[in-house]
């Protein structure tokens, strides 16, 4: 099987000669059934690219599993034959995470789409990988419950987003969606089924990962390179009936940071986000367009929810205090009306409008990528100012978002960069700009999330050798034949 494992460097697309791989297909059919696997060129082609600047590469086979047992059977077979396996659900990440670097089997999990349980008393949901945000939103709403819906397509996978440290609309309150995972069921690359968290001790207890060793870290943020997660428990939350969104604008990033830091100290927002003028446009101007002089450079929305009018009034009172304090600092902060469609796209989640990337890459033409990072808020301003220089230098809009997570504990800083994917030059230009931005952020203490390989390379250059060694050992321990989404970690 060496021809399947060899890297397809710079290869746009090469179809595999099906005649040579019949024996593999035969085995796959035994595991998942005839209609759930294929080596057809056109099917593989459709899995070869995504929204990002990552060069298309096709898998050699596509397999759809419907049960945990099938996933186990597949991984046992792949491990024995040393065939790469790339777990896939919706393919909507913008880091090329499911583009197979070394061919092999693309394991499409969208048919494993059961909502196993919604515990409306304990506020825990147990889901399979194929459950979309739209499906879960529909089901949870019947219990008047919600989750931190990300700014992504409604068809995207809740599980994939959560295990990849995805973000969502409740991050200011509860942190990353990965921090909402309570328990996990995973098939290891060698085919064994393991459970971590409370469900490991009692099969139907999905309430937490505590107080045992938190082994869930072995499977979160690994880009599907340590196993196939077949179930997760997640914390879900009641929907307070009253929504109040506070919006401000200002002329520079320093003033916005000051306001957000101040407000975050009260830990009262579901979401506290600021976007640069370019990201507040619908869509992001492509190529770069100069901001009108009289337009503020930053807009912020602070989403709050309350159970009673009195509670809402109390939140309003706090916000007014913060606002006054910021004004007294002689900053450029102003009350503002946030652009309606942009606000809708960021509060009415999951959102078709934003999810379809209309806001992001519609003007660019099919391409979208990012330097997406978790960055301490105190370095947002210098990083943003540098990013602005780099991006404008590449004729791209500095369309940047900053969000506070779990109060002031950490922040998200990212630029959404559309580009014209029909043009190889423009795609390459975007990739260069994004990687340059990333280097600046890394050197300021930021950490990229859902990183494409270009990012992983930059991360590893800066990483503590002991960390990298541990990473390698853990990967080797869990995936002795390096079959799981190989090549993504840059190690």
């Amino acid at each position: 099987m060496s021809e399947l494992s060899s890297p397809q460097k710079d290869q746009v697309f090469t179809a595999t000669d099906v005649g040579n791989v019949d024996s593999v297909l035969k085995e796959l059919r035994k595991i998942v059934g005839e209609t759930n696997c294929t080596a057809s060129r056109h099917i593989r082609y459709a899995y070869s690219y995504d929204l990002s600047f990552v060069k298309p590469k096709a898998p050699d086979y596509v397999v759809m599993a419907e049960t945990v047992e099938q996933v186990q059977g597949l991984l046992r077979f792949a491990n024995k034959e040393k065939i790469p396996v790339v777990p896939y659900t919706a393919g909507t990440n913008i880091g090329g995470l499911t583009i197979p670097e070394r061919g092999g089997i693309l394991l499409d999990l969208k048919k494993m789409n059961k909502i196993v349980d919604i515990d409306s008393e304990a506020h825990v949901a147990v889901i399979e990988p194929g459950v979309s945000h739209a499906k879960l939103a529909d089901a949870l709403y019947k219990h008047k419950l919600r989750f931190g819906w990300p700014v992504g397509p409604p068809s995207a996978s809740v599980l994939a987003c959560a295990i990849s440290h995805g973000i969502g609309g409740l991050n200011a309150k509860y942190g990353l969606n990965s921090q909402e995972i309570t328990s996990m069921e995973v098939v290891l690359p060698t085919g064994e089924l393991v459970r971590v968290g409370s469900c490991a001790i009692r099969h139907d207890a999905w309430h937490s990962c505590l107080p045992m060793p938190q082994l869930d870290g072995l499977f979160k943020g690994w880009l599907g390179s340590t196993g196939v997660v077949t179930k997760i428990g997640i914390s879900v939350h009641p929907i307070p009936p009253l929504l109040k969104v506070f919006t401000v604008s200002c002329d520079n990033v320093e003033d916005m940071y000051s306001y957000m830091l101040n407000l975050s100290n009260y830990e009262m927002c579901d979401d506290l986000t600021a976007v640069s003028w370019w990201l507040a446009q619908v869509p992001i101007p492509y190529p770069f367009k100069t901001k009108p002089d009289d337009a503020p450079e930053w807009f912020s929305f602070a989403t709050t929810t309350s159970w009673t009018e009195k509670e809402r009034e109390a939140r309003t009172e706090i916000w007014e205090t913060v606002f006054e304090e910021e004004q007294k600092k002689n900053t450029s902060i102003k009350r503002t009306v946030y652009p309606e469609e942009a606000l809708k796209g960021r509060t009415q989640l999951p959102s078709q409008v934003v999810g379809s990337t209309k806001n992001y890459c519609k003007q660019g033409g099919a391409g979208i990528s990012w330097p997406g990072t978790f960055t301490p808020a105190k370095v947002w301003a210098p990083v943003y100012n540098k990013w602005k220089e780099i991006l404008i230098g590449h004729n791209l809009s500095p369309s940047v978002r900053m969000s506070m997570y779990r109060g002031v504990h950490y922040g998200m800083l990212r630029a959404m960069i559309p580009f014209n994917k029909q043009s190889a030059e423009e795609t390459e230009n975007a990739r260069h700009a994004i990687v340059e931005c990333l280097k600046v952020d890394l050197d300021s203490g930021g950490i990229p999330y859902k990183p494409p390989i270009d990012f992983a390379t930059e991360i590893n250059k800066r990483a503590n050798p002991g960390y990298l060694d541990l990473l390698r050992r853990m990967k080797k321990f869990l995936d002795p034949n390096d079959i799981m989404n190989p090549g993504k970690l840059g190690i």
Partner: protein
């Protein structure tokens, strides 16, 4: 007569406007409450990303254009395993949205031009159109078989070839030749007679609207029949005083309203002629107080929106000059021509009918599974898909499902049989005919 039917290459820029974001894959509305449903029949059945909604079809289109996907049997089959229901189009928000069904059909046209398409069973259908002017291999004389009971009852239907009438009832091949769907023209004509309308049919001289040929990619055959039909319409208007063409078939209606407008002569020929679907026509009369009902139909009824009277009638607002956003930007959709409310209004007006809605309805309706040549090309899958839709209807507690398309009527009934036939599927005209007070009843 010139026809502006796009080649795949001409749509390349639109094809590159797809980001592969996957919003097209499911029916979703924010709410509250939010709603979710599967939307793509092919995606539901076959699952692989390439078969799923426009995202997959666009991938195929890119590969065909770039030469990375040379034709083979499997690719050919994959581009025909799509009902062209436009469900994906309804979800998409990007600039290629207005062109999604066009892109899918342009791939099929390329397959036909390249000599590999359509599917073998479609070839029979197209040969039948060439031989008989209908896709059912039915001799001309059979086209009027459904009118015999009217003649026998002393109420013959006017032949517009012989006598003038202001209303031309364009029957359509499915209603005329598909015996199970004959209930549709029969009920329509019965209603028209009860209403005392002066209408006629083209009888044996009616030919196929060309919808099927267009859907499977044979634009030459489509152009042949469409040109002939447009000439007939002009003649009927000038020589027989036809001012209104009424269609009970969603496919014919869509073809005449939309596909025929690709002709350079359309506006000139159709000047002074209104094309209207029966559901819309009857709803107008109902609103004017001209439909009177007697008795009751004690049925619990749900309604299935045909794609051709719903999403396919969307009008997309595009910034052609780039004045508001940029050249070619998709701005908005105008659904005012979609027949969503008219059939519902009529159903709710029928005494005794309890109307219940399926979760997926109107622009988010799940296709019956019969469109886009699927019923001919992949009959078993079409029936299986229809059974999913019928099951959705049954889940509402309804005992009847109503539609306004003979294709849906036939296919959904087949689907119902497949799962035990607990729901009977009717055309809306059948229900109205049962309770309509006729001029003879007064």
């Amino acid at each position: 007569m010139d026809w502006k039917i796009a080649e795949l290459k001409e749509l390349e820029d639109k094809i590159w406007r797809c980001t592969a974001c996957g919003t097209c894959k499911i029916a979703y509305d924010y709410g509250p409450p939010p709603t979710f449903g599967e939307i793509c029949p092919a995606g539901t059945e076959f699952g692989f990303e390439g078969m799923m909604a426009s995202k997959g079809k666009i991938a195929f289109a890119r590969g065909i254009l770039s030469g990375e996907l040379p034709w083979d049997d499997e690719l050919l089959e994959a581009i025909y395993k799509c009902t062209v229901c436009a469900g994906c189009q309804n979800q998409c928000q990007l600039d290629h949205k207005p062109f999604i069904p066009e892109i899918i059909e342009a791939m099929r046209r390329k397959a036909v031009e390249d000599g590999v398409g359509p599917m073998p069973l479609h070839k029979n259908l197209l040969q039948s159109m060439k031989n008989y002017n209908n896709p059912y291999q039915g001799p001309r004389r059979v086209r009027t078989d459904w009118t015999r009971p009217f003649k026998k009852a002393g109420k013959p239907i006017k032949d517009i070839n012989k006598e003038p009438a202001p209303v031309l009832f364009f029957v359509g091949c499915t209603g005329a030749f598909n015996t199970a769907a004959r209930a549709v023209p029969t009920a329509t004509a019965s209603i028209f007679q009860k209403l005392g309308m002066d209408f006629g049919i083209l009888g044996e001289n009616e030919i196929c609207c060309g919808s099927t040929a267009m859907r499977v990619g044979d634009s030459e055959e489509f152009k042949r029949v469409a040109t002939k039909n447009l000439e007939t319409f002009k003649w009927a208007h000038d020589e027989r005083g036809v001012k209104t063409i009424v269609s009970s078939c969603a496919g014919c209606y869509r073809a005449i309203k939309k596909d025929y407008s690709l002709s350079s002569e359309y506006d000139k020929i159709m000047e002074g002629i209104e094309v209207i679907h029966t559901a819309d026509y009857l709803n107008r009369l109902y609103k004017e107080g001209k439909l009177k009902f007697k008795g009751e139909l004690p049925w619990k009824v749900t309604y299935h929106d045909p794609c051709h009277t719903g999403r396919h009638l969307n009008k997309f607002i595009i910034d052609h000059e780039g004045k508001q956003l940029w050249k070619g930007a998709y701005l908005d959709v105008d659904q005012s021509e979609c027949l969503y409310e008219q059939p519902r209004d009529l159903l709710k007006a029928i005494p005794g009918v309890e109307f219940v809605e399926m979760p997926r309805n109107r622009a988010n309706a799940f296709c019956c599974g019969g469109g886009g040549g699927v019923m001919t090309g992949f009959g078993e899958w079409a029936t299986k898909n229809a059974s999913l839709r019928v099951q959705e209807g049954m889940d509402t507690g309804a005992d009847r499902m109503v539609s306004i398309c003979p294709f849906c009527h036939f296919n959904l009934n087949e689907g119902s049989k497949r799962i035990g036939g607990q729901v009977k599927v009717h055309d809306l005209t059948e229900l109205i005919d049962k309770v309509l007070v006729g001029s003879n009843d007064d």
